[in-house]
Symmetry: C2
Subunit: 305 residues, 2 copies
């Protein structure tokens, strides 16, 4: 590869880092301070959300909003709300009654660092706080825009979106359900896809984009979300194949159906690549303004973690 | 007592029953049907919310909205959203990691009837669904009104409201915290008071009431909420005093500070009565339109369950 070919990747890397830094700062500024007898709640909210991560969803909000020249401060608030919803879902997913994970990003999960009751409440509080953030005048001067963001986020994370997908995922783990490719795809679209889609669409809403532009971003994020999930499944399996001693192959160990267990490694990888091409094709109408979103789509299937 | 004196109480009883029936019907109609691999989630949402209860909060929305001649259908949607938030809080409060209750209203709690993971997710889904309901056009034709309802409910149930109060309550149970009357009052205002206040205020928002009227309803609900909680504490202790063999005196058994443990029965009762008088005084500007809200205030400290 030449330097020129590397350029978009480099600018993606720095844009990702800049977005992550902005979101970290915004969370720190916007989340309630830890005061009073309920301080433990705020500490747990901060612990759950200020612990880094790729900040993929906020990045999508910021990049999509950037296409329409949305004020960065507004986009950051909306992006922060989306990230709060993502973080809440991780806190609850990690609970002993759910995935029962002790570690996340190398740190003890919230119920380990605090306790289960605090983890339940901190998740609840992050979810609620996301709607409070979106509804506040600082997010956008047009109340219709704020209301649309609220509706979008509620739908994406509600029973027909993320929470429904999480329930379907639990059903997939149980012996009763027999998940084929269609069922897995549907489940993943709900569990992880809906919020990824909402993130990109939030940028379009903030920018009062045309229905056409909004649909294009939605279609892009739809394909991106599925590619992202297939890449996750591939990483899970490749960890096992390389047999590093650290790899967990958690899904395979649980006997859980994934894209890879159904399609096999080769077809899964081909499918992810096809989805990425398709995602990028949806961005055509934005020209070079969407270069980083294109680069992001390539990145999600090339990443190593 | 004469028939005349009994009349407001009678009409309160039938209004409460009518509101409860309307909310039950609305929940059944509005909650998503149980379909697909995630059907268990919807079943649990329905189980958690269609199990009766006093429906005090929806009643407050409906009665407050009634003062301003709000369309009943709009008020019912907003009232249903408030009840969804209340039901979510009960599902999570009952979890083993929280209050660890096996029964609610004589029925197995959600994590007993289903399982813990489903209870966590059903609570999450009910909370999210409340915001989806409020944001939808059917709730009010003015998007500003819907947005105000979203902001109100998010604040009332977030870290500075219900969830914060729940965390403070857990702190009160632990040995570390020493709760005096001021701290208990503050905690209860957050844990139960904030949502009760939001319910009454939602009626004013739906009716585009003046700031004066809105403040009056907020002040009424503030006093009502505290009186309601003191009455709860009294019921807990009186169960023990009567020694029926069924009484639990749960708070006392846990060594938990309550209004009654700090004030004693007599002063607590006097305080509740003072709060009810005060609550009713705030309704003066509404004249006979608020008769049932006055009757409700009397009712909360006279009830036997």
């Amino acid at each position: 590869m030449t330097d020129v070919a590397l350029k978009p990747a480099l600018s993606l890397t720095s844009a990702l880092a800049a977005a992550a830094a902005d979101i970290e700062k915004a969370l720190d500024r916007l989340l309630p301070p830890a005061i009073g007898p309920e301080a433990r709640l705020m500490e747990a909210m901060r612990y759950a959300s200020l612990s880094g991560g790729k900040r993929l969803r906020p990045f999508l909000v910021l990049e999509a909003a950037g296409i329409f020249d949305v004020q960065r401060a507004c986009a950051i608030r909306a992006a922060t709300a989306v990230e709060c919803v993502h973080c809440y879902s991780l806190v609850h997913d990690d609970l002993p009654a759910m995935d029962d994970d002790d570690l996340r990003r190398g740190k003890p999960t919230v119920h380990k660092a605090f306790d289960e009751a605090t983890a339940v409440l901190a998740g609840d509080a992050l979810l609620t706080f996301a709607f409070e953030l979106l509804a506040a005048p600082e997010t956008h001067d047009d109340p219709r825009v704020r209301l649309e963001l609220v509706a979008l986020l509620a739908q994406a994370s509600g029973p027909h979106g993320m929470v429904g997908g999480q329930m379907a995922d639990l059903a997939a783990e149980s012996a009763e359900a027999d998940f084929d490719l269609g069922a897995i795809t549907r489940m993943q679209k709900m569990k992880t896809g809906a919020l990824i889609q909402a993130a990109a669409e939030a940028g379009a809403i903030l920018g009062k984009a045309s229905q056409e532009a909004r649909a294009a971003l939605r279609a892009y994020a739809h394909d991106l979300g599925l590619a992202f999930q297939i890449a996750d499944d591939l990483l899970d399996v490749e960890g096992r194949i390389e047999d590093t001693g650290k790899a967990v192959a958690k899904d395979a160990a649980r006997g859980k159906a994934t894209f890879v267990s159904i399609l096999g490694v080769e077809r899964a990888r081909a499918q992810a690549e096809r989805l990425v091409d398709q995602a990028i094709a949806h961005l055509a109408l934005f020209g070079s303004r969407a270069d980083r979103l294109s680069a992001l789509a390539r990145y999600v299937i090339e990443r190593k973690s």
